[in-house]
Symmetry: C2
Subunit: 433 residues, 2 copies
């Protein structure tokens, strides 16, 4: 894990000209379930991206339990460092949703019950046939002096509290609600804080190279300072380079990045599958749609993950015709017409079988392309000759069949995910040729 | 989001008998990519569960950037409150992996290069054909006085540093490496801290009831104090009740929970799909395996998610024969023999079509059960009569077909996930009857 960040020299301070170089933000997630490991805190991740897009530097994420005193303390501590404090979670109807109490205590303010907000919440529940219970009224408690942030997705509204020149933003914990509300609140924050710059980022996604290999090709970019910076991050099957520029206008930021974009593209060549953060399944989908090609999939060890990734994208029915998950050898024979002798001679995890699967998927669905994956995801089922992690991928395209053999490391989930990534990348590379 | 936690009264203090009631832990995740929202910090989640299992109370998670000074500050601040500080991330080979420097600075210690550790890392890289570059030696830097924690999964070792009676544990950022290492280190910590109790938890998973409905049925449990406590947590399509008991021995803890387990079971009835945290796909798989039944799946809007969930479980080939993702109407006709007139008259998202899909999946695969899902996942494609979120599910089982209609809220991902959950639950309910 490695990210190189050099903050732009052009940062201009608005709030504390003498002491601060940057406008800082902190995110507090309230939720005992997060501390217990019941659930993963994903909100701080997208909230960070939205805040970074405003030109705010996020220096800290904190998770505290649903406890009035600890929330109050966390808010006060964060306000000593940060101009914007975002608190997510704990706005629900139950007695343990104490974020309003905690923030109010931290700011030494009171809260009031807002009948207008309550009538909106009540209408929403009634329309959905949800029984009204008294505790739901807790969602209509508004901190003294706060602006109400409407909830486009769920019931509990958010709040924006100004504390001198600082802002505290309260968001629900449900990710889809928090995201929509923060996107709406971003423009309000920009005006309130009189943020004069914009931050533009561009994600360059690479597959087929390891993180050190990408780093070696982009070393000068990763260590450069100035208004444009470059970071690197790896996850299973993919490495991301992120360019970030800070400037007065969006156009100026884009212009600043242009020469570095060019460098990245020339150094990474066809390993670069996206120059704007588009995930691989969307890149593949876009190529298929543009070339008006259709695809049929046959999966074994990935068990439906290739097709579920492809169908994550709305409109994927234009190019994905069907997918057959033939988990059982009998089904490989029945649904995919894999000759029994191939299965007997080479085994289900073999080049011959995966090619037969791809060809049959294409031919029977009448598509332009047939993609197949077979392998041993583990943890059992491996042997010396065919170890756990062995994955074969084939793409059948009219007059030729491409076939690749991989030996992936990691747990069952890693192996399946890497298999999906390699399969989608094979389609991409074939379509680019 | 609502969790009610009451810490057991039986907590016994070892480290600071006069000032502390509980042995506290904090988790620090180091990674600029986390603050930038590049990635979601999932480590703190499973690390919390492992620490809770030792009887430690986790009061805080903190995320800081890859910055020596800020890591040092975070470690010092955490040690003022916590007996165990776990730092994850930043042990890699690149110049931005500065966790060793940061923790060493925070503890006012030095680090040394350990040739034995380096020879192990070097061997590992060579065996995998990875080119050795000088920066990799950074992974062999060990803090003065630290114990080395071997890495079973990857290259960078972890470290355990004793600071008087406190412990600082350094773990890699890669989740599979961090998890394995923490599990190994747990027993070491238990001995070092002389933790006299065990914590036992039991997760009760519910579907088909909303969080307030579950809360209403378990209100007395959720508000009880004492050695056994109960928490509640909801995620799309599922609500969890967690019982936690603290006692001298595992057996004593289990015995303490027994009467509450009984209450939960009787109050939630068949809505309870798991009394030990087993995910729904495994519960369904277990039922199928026990009854020696086989299943074939036909999916439309879920695009392979039902089968990928089922095949998450090793050994699922015993009961899952195949899955057909017929994303296109032509494929519903070809692969699933859905009569064209049904598609024309009722549309692909209808009770008649989903029943035909389930029946065909079962009959053609020769399985005992056929499960089918069709719906409108959005964001487009909805109409007044058939809005986004409308999902039909059918289960064909010999002489009868069960069919259900749902109208799910949320984004494309939520709707697909809720559809999968409802489909798996339909199988479970049918098998229980």
């Amino acid at each position: 894990m490695c990210v190189k960040i050099h903050t732009g020299k052009s940062a201009i301070c608005i709030l504390r000209p003498t002491t601060m170089k940057h406008v800082q933000a902190e995110i507090i997630s309230a939720g005992t379930e997060l501390l217990l490991g019941f659930t993963v805190s994903s909100n701080s991740s997208f909230l960070s991206r939205i805040l970074a897009g405003l030109g705010l530097d996020v220096y800290k994420h904190v998770v505290v339990g649903d406890n009035t005193g600890r929330i109050a303390h966390a808010v006060r501590a964060a306000l000593r460092r940060a101009h914007v404090v975002v608190v997510t979670g704990g706005l629900g109807p139950t007695l343990d949703d104490v974020t309003v109490d905690g923030v109010a205590a931290g700011l030494k303010r009171t809260w009031r019950f807002d009948p207008f907000t309550w009538s909106k919440i009540e209408r929403r529940f009634r329309a959905r046939g949800i029984e009204i219970i008294p505790s739901m009224k807790r969602q209509a408690r508004i901190i003294q002096g706060a602006e109400i942030l409407p909830n486009r997705v769920g019931s509990a509204p958010g709040q924006l509290v100004r504390v001198q020149k600082h802002c505290v933003v309260l968001l629900p914990g449900v990710p889809s609600e928090a995201r929509a509300m923060m996107e709406d609140a971003a423009q309000r924050l920009k005006r309130l804080l009189r943020l004069p710059w914009v931050i533009e980022s561009r994600d360059f996604l690479v597959t087929g190279l390891s993180e050190p290999q990408v780093e070696a090709r982009a070393e000068d970019l990763l260590t450069m300072g100035g208004a444009v910076t470059c970071g690197i991050y790896a996850c299973p099957g993919s490495v991301t380079l992120r360019l970030t520029a800070k400037a007065r206008t969006r156009q100026a930021a884009v212009k600043l990045m242009a020469p570095f974009e060019k460098k990245i593209k020339s150094r990474l060549g066809s390993h670069l599958y996206s120059a704007d953060g588009t995930p691989l399944e969307q890149v593949v989908g876009g190529l298929l749609a543009r070339k008006r090609l259709t695809l049929a999939v046959a999966e074994s060890c990935t068990g439906g993950l290739v097709s579920s990734r492809l169908t994550d994208t709305p409109g994927s029915s234009r190019y994905l015709r069907s997918s057959i998950v033939a988990y059982d050898n009998r089904e490989k024979i029945r649904l995919l017409k894999v000759p029994k002798r191939l299965l007997v001679r080479h085994g289900a995890v073999s080049a011959d079988v995966v090619k037969a699967m791809a060809k049959s998927a294409r031919k029977s669905a009448g598509t332009d392309l047939g993609l197949a994956v077979t392998g041993i995801a583990g943890p059992t089922g491996g042997s010396k000759a065919k170890p756990v992690g062995l994955v074969y991928i084939a793409l059948d395209h009219k007059n030729r069949a491409l076939c690749e053999r991989y030996h992936f490391s990691g747990e069952r989930k890693d192996i399946r995910d890497k298999g999906v990534q390699a399969a989608l990348n094979l389609v991409r590379r074939a379509l680019l040729e």
